[in-house]
Symmetry: C2
Subunit: 489 residues, 2 copies
């Protein structure tokens, strides 16, 4: 049995758990939109996917599952879940089971306003929440709730962009700031549904925080609930926790399973204030608190594999020992892989000028030394050619390429500019940019690619030879022309 | 050679590095005010210390160093550094070297206003910083700086309590909020020096962040600088980084060493904007970025041990390979040790009442079932006895004890109430509270300790027997009196 984790992020320990479960009987594959993930080092096989929002995302995954004989897909990221849920049947058709809750269940989890309304309707305690700033302020005025209150994105995750307002002035400011934050981050995709109702104001509870793993089988039948007292948090994830024996939390878990009808794991944050258990947040997937259950003897990966094989799961597989305290320690791993490269076109001449100014200093001689006016150069290449920029996962420009594709007589593309920031050399930035440039040339009807290189630039000549170019003639007394015939794939 | 890390926190990897360096020739000890640290599992020996602010802190460490033959002390926490620097000679007297920079150097690092003034005076680039809200606002008005600006505690650490203000309204509100935050956290200790000047407003730079390890030997002579490009951050610590070859950063490191005169490691955050390198922050200790240097072949622990032994350090020991990318992965560890216990007296009758109400429900029968009025009970025991509360590191009440110490005839203390939250059973909460209670009884002139226990409470009787109590007589038909003679120590 082969299992694929999508949006695996940093959860290398889950890969490890499934590898231990499968042993020699199957492989664990991981997929992520960035390869900068420790999980890539642990998995049997890994793949960098298009972004979740990309129209090719699902077809990419389907293709991958087909050619790698993936039996089951598990996603670890909230944004990924609804897209997989919607496309579950397409995976079924190729024999791949997506272990994901129904779309409606995921929506109730991801949309924190729906979480509030739905759980309230079902009689489950949840902090008082407002979707309208005016409603919140009038309730604060008449004393129904009191400061501090939390201001957070309705479709947010964990503690990202959450503010604590201690008075009305702060509340108004944080509300406006959160609105701007949403529009500047990927949260805008989710919030586009209803931007005016994309911020929640929620009472802040003072109590002890617990985490639950509410476990259903793959047919949404309740199995058990593991409760952990959170001892320390870090970046919104549980860093240190201890399994506890608190019957009221088990009862809450069973009730949640009953109203949520999820599959496998439902990760729940709970605040216990005096004797009441308030649900703070739910995620229909493995959460950052699962390893604490695993450490206490629970083996959900094994149960999932058995369920997939239609085998029965003994009670002991999902039974925890209590008072087991765990902590997440840091372990250094070396990433052998290339960092993420996003190669895109620059279409705006001003932006092109800025980029040429930044990258030309790495050339020898520089454009300025050659007496080239960068503004008009940028405009010219923008109009008659193409400019490719290569950035890494944190949007640092790593390389810049300028080319012409307007030779409709000889169908020869011409490389005018290629510069890689020395900080990023050795990462194949130049190679990947050239490959993209050649593809683009073909798409523009070009059949050959030509470039000029200084004779003294030994490394450059070697690089272009490696890329399939050959020296065809002297360009000047100091430089050669190199040339390559382009082939479709 | 034995080495002690104080305020070791989560840095288990440093313990590991030093253990690898020392091999069988010495031990690595760790000290922390909380035992909830993965470093405690890795170290050869560990000890929970008083808080750094506690008057007994240094004498505790001196005693520990003496009895454990500690040759060198290294601290990993900013607040700890100046206290150790001030007391360096007292450690020297007992033969222990504290590897710490001079007090003045530490002050320049810890006090971010001093960092700004000092580096500016020395001609090193640093973001424009204001200590007065009015100055900041007028500079923003006249365009010398522009929004967004960062609002942060002058004595803060990392990204704790830092706000980004995008306009004047936000700036004023965040300034007020930061002032309140400082007064509500441990930052108030540092900020007490000058509370009106305890907040900084700093321009926000947009550029690439780098981390430096600027390495001096133990006599403050410059050795080398390791530069790393930060690829991802997490909780204010470097999560993913790659070593780079950037001569301007090496030059900056050398200049910083020259003006700072630090010892061993100076951890520096740098923003590179176009061609300028701005120093953002400095810490006169091992920082969260050191493991990336270590992964790239640098071995500062080995160099430190050699320097302590007056051996020479070959250049290769502190030479990095560039383009080595590392990431911090998560590894689960089980904490075998007891969580931190803070046992303190409750002096306020209202607070006592609240605590009795919380803890009495774990008793059988409860006080309420026995018809006891909890309010007057709390008042009585507050006046004539003592109430001990046991909390863990995150301030959860774990146990409550009430006792009388007013029997001046028979000098017999009387245990009136002992309840441990079932979530925390098995952690020796009861045992530690009883030990504290007995100590308190002795301090109040008592010579014996007496208590009543139900005959059916087999576990309770066994527990008190384990604590040295014996059954002396029947109290009621359902209960015994148990008794113990108290001894000094």
């Amino acid at each position: 049995m082969n299992i694929l984790f999508t949006s695996v992020g940093r959860r290398s320990y889950l890969v490890q758990y499934f590898k231990e479960t499968l042993g020699d009987s199957g492989e664990v594959h991981v997929a992520n939109s960035s390869s900068v993930s420790p999980a890539f080092l642990v998995a049997d096989k890994s793949v960098v996917t298009p972004l979740i929002y990309d129209s090719e995302y699902i077809s990419f995954l389907l293709e991958y599952c087909k050619s790698n004989h993936i039996d089951a897909v598990i996603s670890l990221f909230d944004i990924d879940l609804p897209i997989l849920a919607k496309n579950k049947e397409r995976f079924e058709e190729i024999g791949t089971t997506v272990i994901v809750s129904d779309y409606e269940t995921i929506e109730i989890c991801n949309d924190k306003w729906k979480t509030f309304c739905y759980l309230k309707e079902k009689g489950i305690d949840i902090p008082v929440t407002f979707i309208s700033l005016d409603d919140a302020i009038s309730s604060l005025h008449n004393g129904c709730v009191s400061y501090p209150v939390m201001v957070k994105p309705r479709w947010g995750m964990g503690s990202i962009a959450v503010f604590e307002a201690e008075n009305e002035e702060e509340l108004r400011i944080f509300y406006a700031k959160t609105m701007r934050n949403i529009q500047n981050t990927y949260l805008k995709y989710e919030s586009a549904v209803d931007i005016e109702k994309s911020i929640l104001i929620q009472e802040k509870l003072k109590g002890q925080e617990y985490g639950l793993d509410v476990i259903d089988d793959l047919n949404c039948n309740y199995v058990t609930t593991i409760a952990k007292m959170k001892y320390a948090m870090r970046s919104g994830e549980t860093d240190c926790a201890v399994t506890v024996d608190k019957p009221e939390l088990k009862r809450l878990g069973e009730k949640l399973s009953c109203v949520m009808h999820h599959r496998a794991n439902l990760d729940v944050d709970v605040f216990v204030v005096e004797d009441k258990c308030y649900v703070l947040e739910m995620n229909a997937r493995f959460g950052g608190g699962y390893p604490f259950s695993h450490m206490a003897g629970v083996n959900l990966p094994l149960a999932i594999v058995k369920w997939l094989n239609n085998e029965s799961v003994e009670k002991s597989v999902l039974t925890e020992r209590v008072n087991i305290m765990g902590q997440k320690d840091i372990q250094m791993v070396r990433l052998q892989i290339e960092p993420q490269m996003n190669i895109g076109k620059i279409l705006d001449a001003d932006e092109a000028e800025r980029q040429f100014l930044y990258f030309e200093k790495f050339l020898s001689p520089t454009l300025l030394e050659r007496g080239i006016d960068i503004k008009s150069y940028a405009q010219k290449i923008c109009s008659h050619g193409a400019i490719l920029s290569c950035k890494n996962g944190i949007e640092n420009p790593m390389g810049l390429l300028g080319m012409y594709v307007n030779d409709k007589d000889a169908y020869t593309a011409y490389l005018s500019f290629l510069s890689v920031d020395p900080n990023f050399r050795g990462l194949h930035v130049g190679k990947e940019m050239m490959k993209k440039a050649e593809k683009l040339a073909l798409e523009n009807g070009m059949r050959n690619f030509k470039l000029e290189v200084r004779k003294s630039n030994i490394n450059g000549i070697a690089f272009y030879k490696y890329m399939g170019y050959e020296v065809i003639e002297e360009a000047t007394k100091d430089s050669y022309y190199m040339w390559k015939e382009l082939k479709e794939n």
